[in-house]
């Protein structure tokens, strides 16, 4: 008989088919859907996160585990009431206007999703106006902005100013990242946080929604 530990192990191993199969078996055995998620899927993912931080697992392991977790979640999700399935919050994330670099931003998306955030990835070259429109539409808890260039990072400041003008600044936390960005720059433009890499970006997001 499948155990919840087997499911956690399947996520840890990054086995999508096993995670799917074991999630179904546990549900069929009568386990509560939320327990399958929390004690099986998320437990496996948390172990991957811990090992990644310790330097014993790597990005591909993280991605495979995240895919396995998603596959398992899809089996369980239809059985949950709408408010049972709580995410840590919504993050609206993009690369700023005039900038098409997105590898770092995409790594942050992966880490945020793995941590349990609902992420709206708005892509690259997103203007301050479009970010504000995104905030109005999706009501995110956090905006994440990325820039690779010292010239395009200026749009981060413009976006924060536009959020203020629109009266939205207090409703959302703003976090920033990218090679030329620093904590000093974040302070200068009154962002709520900066992180130097994808793992600490997820930690930062968690702390901003009170989940760390």
């Amino acid at each position: 008989m499948a155990t919840i530990e087997d499911l956690a192990q399947a996520v840890f191993d990054g086995s999508t088919s096993k995670a799917k199969k074991l999630s179904q078996e546990l549900i069929d055995d009568g386990m509560a859907p939320l327990d399958v998620i929390n004690q099986g899927l998320i437990a496996g993912m948390s172990e991957v996160g811990a090992q990644f931080k310790a330097g014993t697992m790597f990005v591909p392991d993280m991605m495979a585990a995240a895919e396995a977790m998603t596959a398992g979640t899809e089996v369980v999700k239809p059985l949950l009431a709408a408010d049972d399935m709580q995410s840590l919050g919504t993050v609206f994330i993009c690369t700023v206007k005039g900038d098409l670099h997105d590898i770092g931003k995409n790594l942050v998306v992966m880490m945020l999703e793995s941590a349990g955030f609902n992420v709206i990835n708005a892509g690259v070259d997103v203007s301050p106006e479009d970010i504000v429109a995104g905030v109005k539409e999706h009501h995110p808890d956090i905006i994440g902005m990325s820039a690779l260039l010292t010239t395009t990072m200026l749009h981060m400041k413009d976006t924060i100013e536009l959020l203020k003008e629109e009266g939205l600044r207090d409703q959302v936390k703003v976090i920033i990242g990218g090679a030329p960005v620093s904590q000093d720059f974040a302070d200068e433009i009154s962002a709520d946080g900066y992180s130097p890499d994808a793992v600490s970006a997820a930690d930062l997001a968690k702390s901003l929604v009170g989940a760390a």
Partner: protein, 493 residues
């Protein structure tokens, strides 16, 4: 009489055979044709359409005959000159390897306080003085984005600091086409006109696509403008295995070549015959830290491979060496920088940048530049190889000294032939200037310094005492005026 003898006059390494180079180039041509690359500049799309490429929205599919023609027509004999005298200094061809710094680090480390801070006009001035003073550094790049000025004008200020503080050739990396236009104007003023600059280029231009397969508007416009000006342009993708390219190293090679050669095609279609330099920083996305690694052995390996491809194509190659992932200049920095410089020099990549990059390319460090200069002396000695001639086999000398005798300079017979051309590689033994070879007591008496300490002292000495060959006062004043009057353009607007 020695007959039918083949000898190595230099040490050289190869990663690929000619057939493998051909395989890689054909694979790149296929990717350029089948998959195509994105061009975000409407004018570039028009240029490519007129040339016969298939345009699908912003994707240009480049047929192989156009790529092959571009490889034929681009200027391959490229010379970079001294900015004060016009003297022809760097011949970017064959197995000639030249080295210099890198551009655009947001941060730098202050050589006096060790503080890591954003690069400034002063830090670029100091960096350029160091580059100017070191014998094995052949050209200058800024080693920092000037950020104590309006950011949209940083490129003009970098150029001003460089041209004031060195007469060596300069590679200028501009924010956009407007910055490039301004910097070319300044260079033309110094050279005495457009044609003078084209005939004695002391600047080299630089543009960078975004992997995988995206030519942003700035890169495409800089390529087109540079080609029309007839100035050498480096087109250099910075790609990472497993991140912005396939995880296989051969896949990275194909992806990178596809991007570089697409840039070449754009330049040739805009201005046939324009000088082109194929660049690349090919490395891995480190799967533990997610950094773009500047110290990975895969970087050294792939770029040595790219040098083989460049030699096969007879196109000048822009390489990468003398850099490190570590945050301070420590043993790791020495290991990574030395490995890359030795390998790059042996591969014969022509114009090699990023000497002095620390912290995976985000922070420049002048101590590392000075150490790199020393390592380059060693690397160049190694690649100079061992000459085997009747004279150097030294049989006469061995006979004269005899068993148990002493070898003295006086016993060396007079050389039979003089005036042999020796480009950069010194065939005399390397003279240590910075590394310690002293016995313990001598080393202790001299202060018991580490290499890092000795390098830092040299950096400070250069900053305080070295002066480059100056620009005429009136010229410097005119450059100041041009920088002050420059107008910045916000990206995306």
């Amino acid at each position: 009489m020695r007959t039918n003898l083949r000898a190595n006059t230099a040490v050289k390494m190869n990663v690929f055979t000619e057939q493998q180079c051909q395989e890689l180039v054909f694979a790149a041509e296929e990717a350029m044709w089948l998959t195509g690359t994105e061009f975000h500049d409407p004018e570039s799309i028009e240029i490519l359409r007129k040339a016969g490429c298939t345009i699908d929205g912003i994707i240009a599919h480049i047929p192989p005959h156009i790529t092959e023609r571009a490889l034929q027509t681009c200027q391959k004999h490229i010379v970079l000159c001294n900015s004060r005298t016009g003297a022809r200094e760097l011949f970017l061809e064959g197995g000639n390897s030249y080295f210099g710094s890198g551009p655009c680090t947001p941060f730098t480390r202050n050589p006096y306080t060790e503080e890591r801070h954003r690069a400034t006009r002063e830090s670029v001035k100091w960096a350029t003085k160091v580059l100017d003073a070191l014998p094995n550094i052949d050209y200058a790049m800024s080693l920092g984005i000037v950020q104590d000025v309006p950011l949209l004008l940083s490129d003009r200020h970098e150029f001003e600091q460089m041209i004031l503080n060195t007469d060596k050739p300069i590679i200028t990396v501009c924010n956009d086409q407007y910055g490039q236009e301004d910097n070319i104007k300044m260079a033309e003023y110094i050279a005495g006109g457009e044609e003078e600059l084209r005939n004695h280029p002391f600047i080299c231009l630089y543009a960078e696509p975004i992997s995988p397969g995206v030519h942003c508007i700035e890169a495409a416009q800089k390529m087109v403008y540079g080609a029309r000006k007839g100035l050498p342009t480096i087109y250099t993708p910075c790609i990472m295995a497993g991140g912005t390219a396939p995880a296989t190293l051969a896949g990275v090679m194909v992806q990178g070549l596809c991007e570089s050669l697409s840039g070449l095609v754009l330049g040739q279609c805009a201005a046939e015959g324009s000088p082109f330099i194929m660049g690349g920083v090919y490395t891995v996305l480190d799967m533990g830290s997610t950094i773009f690694s500047y110290g990975a052995p895969e970087l050294d390996l792939m770029l040595a491979g790219l040098a083989d491809v460049a030699h096969y194509l007879k196109v000048p190659m822009f390489g990468t060496a003398g850099c490190t992932d570590t945050c301070v200049i420590d043993e790791q920095a020495g290991v990574e920088a030395a490995l890359s410089m030795a390998m790059t020099n042996m591969s014969g990549a022509n114009l090699n940048h990023d000497t002095g990059y620390a912290e995976y390319g985000t922070t420049s460090n002048l101590d590392l530049v000075v150490i790199a200069d020393e390592v380059l002396g060693m690397a160049r000695r190694i690649t100079a190889g061992i000459q085997t001639t009747e004279e150097t086999l030294s049989l006469k000398e061995i006979e004269k000294v005899g068993p148990g005798g002493r070898f003295r300079a006086a016993d060396i017979p007079e050389p039979e032939e003089e005036g042999v051309f020796e480009p950069k590689n010194s065939r005399v033994d390397y003279q240590a200037r910075l590394v310690n070879r002293g016995a313990r007591e001598i080393w202790e008496k001299a202060g018991g310094k580490t290499l890092k300490q000795a390098a830092n002292e040299k950096v400070r000495d250069i900053i305080e005492n070295h002066e480059a060959e100056p620009l005429p006062k009136a010229t410097a004043a005119k450059i100041r005026e041009m920088v002050e009057n420059a107008v910045g353009h916000m990206p995306g607007e």
